[in-house]
């Protein structure tokens, strides 16, 4: 069963063609790894999938209504003047909050729980941001280079989580310059040259 189908989508920005006539589907319980050089349009494609950006041509179809989507992009969406816990409280309410705090511990963040988030290290901030995805079960998980800045153990934790989600029927679309340890379809974006 497919969650989302991309139907011959193209995207052009400022007369630069990013991709052209792209068609693919994302199926329940499977992963899609979007690859390509820097600036090939991976992040843009993800944002199109999410409905944030509209494709120049073609259409994205959500095949299942009420698909629950979680997303983490290049930007962490963390308030750096709040403590990590306060940040989590902004995102999660009641039931999910517990699971978020649980992930907070497992990712080794408890020793910085009283700092404001601006004082966390680069990787710690990324981990904090990832909890947004980790602690909220979703039908579709969209991740834009989630491994950036993570140390080995956190990377393993994330890989394991993604693996599990997929095996329980969630779908995953991600970009990464590091190969994720997940069996996935690959979608390669070429670098168009418009010269």
């Amino acid at each position: 069963m497919s969650l989302i189908a991309a139907n011959r989508i193209s995207y052009t920005i400022n007369n630069k063609k990013l991709f052209h006539n792209l068609s693919f589907t994302i199926d329940a319980g499977s992963a899609l790894h979007i690859k390509g050089g820097n600036g090939s349009g991976k992040s843009t494609l993800l944002r199109i999938l999410l409905g944030i950006t509209t494709p120049s041509k073609g259409k994205i179809e959500l095949l299942k209504p009420n698909t629950k989507i979680t997303y983490l992009g290049h930007k962490n969406a963390i308030k750096n003047y709040l403590t990590p816990i306060e940040n989590l409280k902004l995102i999660f309410h009641q039931s999910n909050l517990e699971s978020a705090l649980d992930w907070f511990q497992r990712l080794g963040l408890s020793r910085v729980q009283d700092e404001i988030s601006a004082n966390l290290s680069f990787g710690q901030q990324k981990k904090l941001a990832l909890i947004r995805v980790l602690a909220a079960p979703a039908d579709l998980i969209v991740l834009d280079e989630p491994f950036v800045g993570l140390d080995d153990s956190s990377r393993n934790l994330l890989n394991k989580y993604l693996q599990e989600s997929i095996s329980t029927g969630s779908s995953l679309a991600l970009t990464s310059h590091i190969r994720p340890e997940i069996i996935s379809k690959e979608l390669m974006l070429e670098n168009f040259s418009n010269d």
Partner: protein, 216 residues
């Protein structure tokens, strides 16, 4: 809706810079003004009120200047969009929070300073209410301006909205005179309440569309 509002309130409360800053500046300006002129020479009470009005104008501009910037830059806006699919509630909550945490105290400070400078205590609730309404209008207006020019360089928003602020200021000035003369207050008030409600409910729609365009 309540949840969004609570979140916005919590965030703003934590950002001392954003809410306490403008209030302090307002106080300081109101203090500095009498010092800058030769008090003995003029009758301060007669025009001190205009200073308060002008301060109101500037401070509301100042405090809403970056109202959406942070959320745009740190990626929060995208997350809001994913959950809500539009920004109406978000903008409504955010502007209301700003009005409550900055606009209301500002109106308070303005009223207190107008007592200090000759308005009788009985009139203070009127003054306060009127300033509150002007702030509601100004905050919505400037929030719209700042949504137009979220990214750094743009000056568009300032250009577009500053002229619109003038009528509000004129209205406020006239309202004050109706209080001083004890006549016609209700009319001005009705006008302000009406436009306040209208603007406060419609502007978020417009801002919401603007924000969506920025995300594209």
């Amino acid at each position: 809706m309540i949840k969004i509002f609570q979140s916005e309130f919590f965030k703003l409360r934590k950002k001392l810079r954003t809410w306490l800053g403008p209030l302090l500046i307002m106080v300081l300006v109101l203090i500095a003004f009498p010092l800058s002129i030769d008090i003995s020479q003029y009758d301060l009470n007669r025009f001190y009120f205009s200073i308060i009005v002008v301060a109101l104008l500037m401070i509301s501009f100042l405090s809403t200047e970056g109202i959406f910037l942070e959320d745009y830059e740190d990626g929060s806006l995208e997350q809001v969009y994913l959950v809500e699919q539009d920004f109406y509630k978000f903008v409504l909550a955010k502007v209301l929070t700003f009005v409550l945490l900055i606009g209301v105290p500002m109106a308070g400070i303005g009223s207190v300073f107008s007592i200090l400078n000759g308005i009788s205590i009985n009139e203070v609730p009127k003054i306060f209410f009127m300033m509150f309404l002007s702030n509601l209008l100004l905050f919505n207006l400037f929030a719209f301006g700042s949504s137009l020019s979220i990214n750094k360089g743009a000056i568009l928003g300032v250009l577009a909205t500053l002229p619109l602020a003038l009528p509000i200021i004129i209205l406020l000035g006239r309202g004050v005179r109706t209080i001083q003369h004890g006549i016609g207050f209700e009319g001005v008030m009705a006008l302000m309440v009406g436009s306040g409600l209208l603007v406060a409910s419609i502007t978020p729609l417009i801002i919401s569309a603007t924000l969506k365009t920025h995300l594209e």
